[in-house]
């Protein structure tokens, strides 16, 4: 059983500001079903002041509590004040979080950033994948890891995993995380040049589903085939071919030359399609 503070329990059991805002002018989405947590943040900003904040969260108790705490922190703040909120502020507001759950507070900070960008009219979901994707399991970039190390004074790979999830899946990126740790901890605290944000997992997931529904499935159905999306982990998309595709000798070609190619063109050049028997 987790050692949650009373404040975490309170904000999980009776979360404040659940829901959506119909006329929100700043919306930020982060996370994904595949990762086990996702947050959609709605803000109403009037004359540079956040007059209302609401959230929807899929996740554990600390994810729900962190999201609710964030909305409470945001209400009444100017955009400038809001931009100064860090994941540590969210965790402190709740009287602290178990270290394995710190990534829930980071998710709040990311959603806030996405919402502010959205307010300024940056099309967040159309960002080209830039920066280096370090952790493919959880879709974490080098920029996010660098920042988490700087802002929370992280010292070990385990710390980085607790805060960003990076390295918590297959573990292939652990050496790269260590390099980033050495790099950030070895250098003075200078602001790295801002890089464009890559697709978040949730954006990538929505796009993949949309492309499969609108582009891929109709064309397979012409040949009495069908496709089912089984899972998305980072940039790996697992699908099962159905109908006439299942015993079609050209099904491998269909997967690489059509499904993967279409997804790479329309969603993300790094996408890898794998067939699973579901």
């Amino acid at each position: 059983m987790w050692e949650y503070t009373d404040k975490v329990k309170e904000y999980f059991l009776e979360p404040k500001n659940v829901g959506s805002i119909d006329d929100a002018n700043a919306v930020g989405e982060v996370g994904s079903l595949a990762c086990g947590d996702a947050l959609k943040l709605f803000l109403k900003i009037e004359d540079g002041v956040i007059t209302d904040a609401k959230f929807q969260t899929f996740g554990c108790a600390s994810a729900i509590a962190s999201s609710s705490a964030l909305t409470e922190l945001l209400k009444g703040k100017t955009i400038d004040e809001a931009q100064k909120i860090t994941n540590k502020d969210i965790a402190d507001f709740l009287g602290g979080l178990p270290k394995e759950k710190m990534h829930c507070s980071v998710m709040g900070q990311e959603a806030l950033e996405a919402a502010i960008k959205n307010y300024y009219g940056e099309k967040v979901e159309k960002v080209e994948l830039e920066g280096e994707l370090v952790c493919h399991c959880f879709g974490v970039t080098d920029e996010l890891i660098r920042r988490a190390i700087r802002e929370n004074d992280l010292k070990t790979v385990e710390d980085v995993t607790n805060f960003t999830k990076a390295g918590g899946g297959c573990g292939d990126c652990v050496p790269r995380i260590q390099e980033l740790l050495d790099e950030v901890r070895g250098q003075a605290h200078t602001e790295a040049p801002a890089e464009k944000k890559p697709l978040t997992n949730i954006q990538r997931m929505q796009l993949v589903m949309q492309v499969i529904d609108e582009e891929i499935r109709p064309s397979l159905r012409k040949d009495k085939g069908d496709i089912e999306l089984v899972d998305i982990t980072g940039t790996v998309v697992q699908v099962a071919l159905r109908g006439a595709c299942t015993n079609c000798p050209a099904s491998q070609l269909t997967l690489t030359d059509f499904v993967q190619k279409t997804l790479r063109e329309l969603v993300d050049p790094d996408i890898v399609v794998k067939e699973v028997s579901a």
Binding site: W2, F12, L13, P15, V18, S20, E29, L33, A34, C35, G36, D37, A38, L39, K40, Q56, T57, F58, G59, C60, A61, A63, I64, E100, K101, C137, F138, T161, K165, G168, G169, I202, M205, Q206, M209, I212, D213, E228, L229, V230, D231, I232, T233, Q238, R242, V276, S277, A278
Partner: protein
């Protein structure tokens, strides 16, 4: 006002049966002697251990001499695997499954690092093994096949008689982790040619800290613990006399309740499962609907996360467990659900309900009354549930 506990986490551990407690208590007071002593005071305790051994053997259909008492299921699994390998130093291949308990999987992974070849058999979407894959994996240098009798998370019961036949034809040793099966389904070792079988007391209403390993007569054996003549030199260490007596009694009780387990308890489980799945939309049963333990139901609730569900259940005194990532502190859902390819939309929201003969209709009624509101509440918070979240593809399983 104290809240009633509705305990539906019996695959994690069980209540000690009152009859078991009663029988073991004297071994903490007047019967404190060491069975190895020369004096009659200690010697009488030795007779109680003999009686417990006979009871356990009777429950499994084997001879008392084939039962070693130990501390837990994990010890039994570790002992069987290491014994099988050190008795056949020329064989360097092991076969197990992707859905084993960590007490087997972690040992296998460590042996891989030490140069052993390990084949991990996959499972289909219902967690079923493909026996042809087992057949094809067996080699002349296969030392051991280790397949669980029943899975702790989804309750699948594996076809050990068929597996044993395939393995014995190729001359490899066979171990089964039967920790979840013993006490819930009938096992007859007279008819089932496995070489090792591990069981654990606290899964069948005995206390924690006692287990047993069956080693078939004639199987070459290498002890895990050295330094004493106890258990005929096969497991050194002063006997946990109270625990062993308790396990004997628990085994006797399990045998007399096996019929009830597979009728009344199964009916309770079925009513719980069907009730939840018909009252709550977007659910999914994980595991093999046909070949399953009578007490286990693993159900996924789409769009919500297991840890949050458990905490809301806990407030009402309902105990269960989850295969979600967040409950374990790891970042990925259970290895069993992943091996089964349970879609991510379901894996994080899986809840395991596991019953015992101490559960009642009132327990099931309470869960059926409370669960829909718990899931509804969390779905109302979830961005995936109310039209403006992404529409997920339909699951065709």
């Amino acid at each position: 006002m104290s809240q009633r506990t509705v305990y539906l986490d019996n695959n994690a551990t069980t209540q000690v049966a009152p009859e078991v407690l009663e029988e073991m208590l004297p071994f903490f007071s007047e019967l404190y002697g060491n069975p190895s002593s020369m004096h009659a005071f200690g010697g009488q305790v030795g007779h109680s251990i003999d009686e417990a051994r006979a009871r356990v053997a009777a429950g499994l259909g084997c001879e008392p001499g084939e039962i070693l008492f130990n501390a837990c299921g994990t010890e039994g699994d570790n002992t069987a695997i290491h014994s099988a390998l050190s008795a056949q130093p020329d064989k360097r291949h092991i076969i197990t499954t992707r859905v084993e308990h960590p007490a087997v999987l972690t040992v296998a992974q460590k042996l891989e690092k030490r140069g052993y070849d390990v084949t991990y058999l996959g499972v289909d979407e219902h967690g079923r093994l493909d026996l042809d894959e087992l057949r094809d994996s067996l080699r002349d240098d296969t030392a051991l096949v280790s397949v669980m009798y029943a899975n702790n998370e989804v309750g699948n019961v594996y076809p050990l008689p068929e597996i044993a036949q395939i393995v014995k034809e190729r001359g490899a040793l066979l171990h089964t982790d039967a920790v979840q099966a013993v006490g819930k389904i009938s096992i007859d070792l007279a008819k089932l040619p496995v070489d090792f079988l591990a069981l654990s007391g606290h899964k069948l209403h005995a206390p924690k800290g006692v287990g047993a390993l069956f080693v078939r007569r004639g199987t070459r054996f290498r002890p895990f613990l050295l330094g004493g003549h106890q258990e005929r030199g096969r497991r050194a260490g002063t006997e946990n006399t109270a625990g062993i007596v308790a396990l004997g009694k628990a085994m006797e009780l399990a045998t007399s309740h096996i019929e009830e387990e597979n009728t009344r308890v199964k009916a309770l489980r079925d009513r719980l499962e069907k009730g939840l799945m018909s009252a709550i939309p977007d659910t999914r049963l994980n595991g093999d609907p046909e070949h399953r333990l009578p007490n286990t139901a693993n159900i996924s609730f789409k769009y919500v996360e297991g840890e949050a569900i458990l905490l809301l259940m806990d407030r009402l005194g309902i105990c269960a467990s989850s295969g979600s990532a967040c409950t374990s502190g790891s970042l990925e859902p259970s290895h069993v659900l992943r091996a089964m390819g349970v879609p991510f939309t379901f894996a994080h929201g899986s809840i395991r309900f596991s019953l015992s003969r101490y559960n009642t209709d009132a327990d099931v009624d309470l869960v059926l009354a409370e669960m829909p509101a718990i899931i509804k509440r969390l779905r109302e918070i979830s961005p995936f549930r109310n039209g403006d979240g992404p529409e997920l593809p339909p699951c065709t399983c």
